[in-house]
Symmetry: C2
Subunit: 363 residues, 2 copies
């Protein structure tokens, strides 16, 4: 359906890609900004032996672009080649490597994550990839306000980038996500998301896959498929459902607003959905985001996380789904992750999942 993206290169060597709607094409100009060399600023991975987890130490990000005025937005089109990360008069969807990357240098075939389990301080280059995806050239608005064709193009760009990053040596997990709203710490208001290629399986994904493997051993079935069936049977937490997708507030939701969107048939990634199903996913995702903005009659700060898996031994039980969460617990109050959550990872949710689902069903 979509033609191949147009590749371009920024002044400091970073990749830029243009995804275009049918009939459109991109006309980039040279990036003439004097940008510092990227290679000097690589971040570091450090292994925490008390938790068995990697932590990314990205000191160079401390100086990243912070709430610039609208006329200096680096995500708006920059026809002069001197003002923007996207040197072009216009674009539909653009993807580029993050200038302030937590993970970089992906594609080095010699890179190996060092073995853990030793007894000394352990670190490694923060090998991976961080991309920014601009949902639209329009500085205002949000994903929920995209028209169908534009949103569908973003989905297609996610499919493309997931495949490209997964194929890079040393990348273990590709994560497409959106942080939306100042309350989540967003420093650029132009509608955009991000795509991370991590060199390790993230802790939450690792744990979910472990639970799914244990479920397979015990029951012979897929954990996520079973849960969706049980949520449909229970009914009280369903937000929306059609012949292809089901959206619900999970039984043990950790956040005051939390909606999961699952396909009705088991697939591991957006790529495994056929074009008609990708249309269906786009519609369901837009429906959910639009309802979330109506929940408190003001734009909801949210995090949207696209969970995708490969079919290798480790990830085979993972089921594609999207989790949208928000810290807004009422029109005027935010949920904070304080000591119970931040220091002990014991989550306390002040909103009953059934109430949250009922409110979202009514909208």
């Amino acid at each position: 359906m979509t033609s191949a993206p147009t590749p371009w290169t920024l002044a400091d060597g970073r990749d830029l890609l243009f995804f275009s709607l049918p009939g459109h094409s991109s006309h980039p100009v040279p990036d003439r900004r004097p940008l510092p060399d990227q290679s000097v600023a690589q971040s570091e991975l450090r292994f925490d032996r008390t938790t068995g987890q990697w932590v990314i130490i990205a000191a160079s990000r401390q100086d990243r672009t912070y709430k610039p005025p609208p006329d200096q937005c680096p995500l708006c089109p920059g026809p002069s080649g001197t003002t923007s990360e996207i040197p072009a008069a216009d674009y539909d969807v653009a993807v580029f490597e993050n200038r302030f990357a937590s993970l970089s240098g992906a594609g080095d075939a010699a890179f190996r994550l060092p073995p853990t389990g030793g007894d000394a301080f352990l670190s490694a280059p923060s090998h991976g990839r961080c991309e920014v995806i601009c949902f639209s050239s329009d500085h205002t608005g949000s994903f929920a306000q995209l028209d169908f064709a534009q949103a569908r193009l973003v989905v297609e760009a996610w499919v493309h980038r997931t495949a490209a990053l997964t194929a890079m040596p040393g990348i273990a997990q590709v994560f497409c996500f959106e942080n939306r709203g100042e309350e989540i710490g967003v420093t650029l208001t132009h509608p955009h998301g991000q795509i991370y290629g991590y060199p390790y399986l993230t802790p939450r994904t690792e744990r979910m896959l472990r639970e799914a493997h244990a479920h397979r051993e015990r029951r012979g079935t897929n954990l996520f498929t079973d849960i969706v069936e049980q949520e449909v049977a229970a009914g009280s937490r369903i937000v929306a459902r059609d012949d292809m997708f089901t959206a619900f507030v999970p039984f043990a939701a950790r956040w005051p607003v939390e909606v999961h969107i699952y396909p009705n048939r088991f697939v591991r990634s957006l790529a495994e959905l056929d074009p008609v199903e990708r249309d269906g996913f786009t519609r369901m995702y837009l429906t959910i985001l639009q309802r979330l903005d109506r929940l408190y009659s003001l734009p909801l700060p949210y995090m949207a996380a696209v969970h995708q898996y490969t079919d290798d031994e480790t990830q085979r039980e993972g089921c594609f789904h999207v989790e949208v969460i928000s810290t807004r617990r009422s029109a005027t109050k935010l949920k904070y992750l304080a000591s119970s959550e931040s220091a002990m990872e014991a989550f306390i949710n002040d909103v009953a999942p059934e109430s949250a689902a009922a409110a979202l069903r009514r909208l």
Copy 2:
């Protein structure tokens, strides 16, 4: 050193305890507030089969006291018995059961956490205990501003409450902590902390104990003792050290401000420290909190987590320590837990641990 606390009972049956400085005594009056029955509002535990973790669903907390004006502070002394959680003309340190408790009903000998590993939605009463500890009757100020004797009394109250809650049937972990600052979501500014008795081992504690057990199997030594020795040898992340305690920024710090305080000899809890060591801990803890407030020349929002363990089989490798963390990454900016941290638990720290330690050493 400290005499036994004076027990009292609030109008709705909740426990209140007064801890007094030598020579002081408490003179509570009856609590004459018309309070609703506590027993109707018990929260719920729900098991998340995708992560293997319990989540606390505490819908009744949604209406908890939110930023009251100073003259209605429920933690200030209430000599009339009609205005405060602490019906007395004055107090030194007071501890009471939280009126808006995430966990309650601890002490029911018949309570058992239901077995996990089944294939249906699993829930249980949110059995446990949530206490509030007022560090001082003075509405203003902070823990860092307490004089030594007052801070030492708080430590003694922590010892007392940890022993009392640990002895209650069905409590698996006791967690003393302080959330400080509006940026952390604190809704009462009166200096206070909290004490939770969880019916399960929290996810982070469980993981730390698992790593420590594996280290014992592999090396025959305690993981935390080894790490403190290595931090001392490395030197670059040490913040302060004396003959009894060592404070450092950990090698793989997850937060822009993160200081861990460990005893130089292995103990599992404050109770295992002798009185002279408790004096030493109080001094070191005050030193660290005072430096943290000087870091940006403004009161630092922080979370302080007291990690304590019992000597049973599961917890034996746990080493008592305190972790103080903050989301403030500069004088004007906060670190937000956005999608990488909140959805994937992949932490990105924008501040090099060595820089943070150097700044705190200089103060």
